[in-house]
């Protein structure tokens, strides 16, 4: 069973995280202060850690720095009330794997946790991504469905690549915008939806089983099972 450590001093937030992650079938352990959190994190018995950036005494940055120094590569999702870009850069530089700003939607947090867990599983570098009959060649930079070449724009290619790497997982619009376009603000309108819609028209031609699905209220998922 996947074990997750939640280091969070605010009880309400912690309960919310635990409830959401337990709902996804994870075993969640809670450390309510930096000292216990650090001790548990250093034991290395977890698959992922959600880490509050601001903790009394030992703060989040110190914990992640200490972990990386001890060569513990457990993925860390930093959660912080500080949304400044510089704060984000600092958190990621110290060794955080992803950065989420408080207050957050639980489903967004869960989606990010899933992506991080998945990233850890995948050790071998791939040259071809394959979902059902959809193939994406990372070397030749081509995409085909049922052996028929698809004509994608560079941005569409990157969007599809990200979705295929994280297939069977809910990806929120913010996650897509951050990962594919590399910006950390809210693009606001439904523009991500339009990009997905366009990609979907190319990938899921009429008559083929659809691979890109909308998850109402959350985001998108690339899946062969729905």
């Amino acid at each position: 069973m996947t074990r997750i450590l939640t280091i969070e001093d605010d009880e309400t937030t912690a309960r919310e995280i635990i409830a959401e992650l337990s709902g996804h079938g994870f075993e969640v352990e809670w450390a309510d202060n930096g000292m216990t959190g650090l001790a548990k994190a250093l034991s290395g018995n977890y698959d992922l850690i959600t880490l509050d950036r601001m903790l009394p005494a030992v703060d989040g940055l110190a914990i992640v720095t200490a972990m990386r120094r001890e060569n513990i590569d457990t993925p860390v999702l930093m959660i912080s009330a500080l949304s400044d870009v510089d704060e984000r850069v600092q958190g990621l530089r110290a060794g955080g794997d992803d950065y989420l700003v408080k207050p957050f939607a639980s489903d967004e947090m869960a989606a990010r946790v899933e992506v991080l867990l998945r990233r850890k599983e995948r050790q071998v570098p791939l040259t071809v991504l394959r979902i059902l009959d959809l193939e994406l060649d990372l070397v030749a930079r081509t995409v085909s469905r049922r052996k028929i070449q698809l004509d994608l724009l560079p941005m569409e290619f990157r969007l599809l690549e990200y979705m295929m790497r994280n297939s069977e997982q809910i990806l929120t619009r913010t996650m897509l915008f951050e990962s594919v376009w590399g910006y950390h603000f809210d693009p606001g309108t439904n523009i991500i939806d339009v990009h997905i819609g366009r990609l979907r028209r190319k990938v899921d031609s009429p008559g083929l089983p659809p691979l890109i699905h909308t998850v109402r209220g959350s985001g998108y998922i690339l899946s062969e099972h729905r």
């Binding site: 870009v85 941005m155 606001g188 523009i191 819609g197 209220g217």
Partner: protein
Amino acid sequence: MNIAKFSGTTTFRLTLIYSIFFTVCVIMLMGFVYWKTAREMTSRVDQILILEMRDFVGTRGDLLPAKIAEGIRRDQRHIYFYGLFSSDGSELAGNVSGIPSDLPRNGRIYQTNLISSSLPPLVARAAVIRLDSGEYLLLGHDVQQLAEFRGIMKGAFFWGGSLTVALGLAFGLVLSFRPLSRIEQIQRVCELIMRGDIRQRLPISGRRDELDMLTAIVNKTLDEIERLMSEVKSVCDNIAHDLRTPLTRLRALIYRAQQQGDAPNAMLEQVISDMDSLLLRFRALLRISEIENKQRQAGFKAVHLSDILEQAVAFFEPLAEDKSIDLSMSAEKLAPIQGDGELLFEAIVNLLDNAVKFTPVGGKVEVRLSQGNGGARVDIIDTGPGIAANERAAVLNRFYRGANGQCVPGFGLGLGIVMAVVRLHDFEFELGEAGSGTRATIFCRPFTLHRFIEKPL
């Protein structure tokens, strides 16, 4: 009116210090004149006395009383003293009643008080010589004039000095009156401002003195405070207005769900999506203050505007295509500018978002990068309904939505973000018209310098 208040002013203190300094200088000058004069007078009197002494010492002893009587008779002005005394000190001849006890009998000249038979005691230069016969001869010369001169000097020191200081005090008070009355004016205006009339400005005399400079600085600060206050006020008003509708709708939805008992999933999804759009507004608001709080220009790098524009256009291309809007871009080859690429992209995205949103189906949006006056300029021109000239300033305020835009989704915060980014970069933003549509322009010139040169304090 309070003297203590006046005596605290810079003018008063400067005047007082100056008059004291002036008095000290005058006293020193007068002292020097007195010292020089006294020395001159004394040395002349001493010369005369030395000549007289030689004359008397050369005279035979038995002729001395007659010579003394002759001298006294000749001395019409009563300035000479003669005295012949026996070895036991008794008076033999002359007009001096006794040798003063403090006068050494060694033939040298000293200053002393002499008591004459006819006159009150007088200050004089005098010498006593012991004659071969054992008698003492006293010769003296009145220097009362010198003492009187000293008295005059002392009086002049005292009266002149105190008069100068008193005049300085009075003058200082008078001079302080003007700045103080201006301070009082400023105080009155400030009281109005403190009571909430933020539109008041401190009076400027136009003399361009220190007080004017200070007043100008304060007025500039007040301008900025007024702008911020009105912004805060309009934000509060707008938040209240803008959020009431979706919140009421949400409440209705939840109420309906409650009434139905087992709420259908679609209804809950509607609630979540309404909530999300509400949260989006708050996030945009926070984003604006975040940009405004950013360490000024600390993370600036050289960025190519054409790259940013290309990326933004590519980002919006699908949306434009969906609405059959012709989105095109033209860029001159320009040198990179100093800026925050991510924030500039955000600003452009917001401008494009507005342009695409307000342009009707089949319209055109054009992005243009060119060399403007003093720096690069980015124009985003659409064929939407345009913004009336009198609405343009209001449009730049957060949360405002134009009368023509009521039916289009969007929260009016986009331009607030644009303004925040532009202000951070010290660029300039302008809304204008292009045909029937809107032209949004960012002038990427370092603007601080211009502002400073055009409007010095």
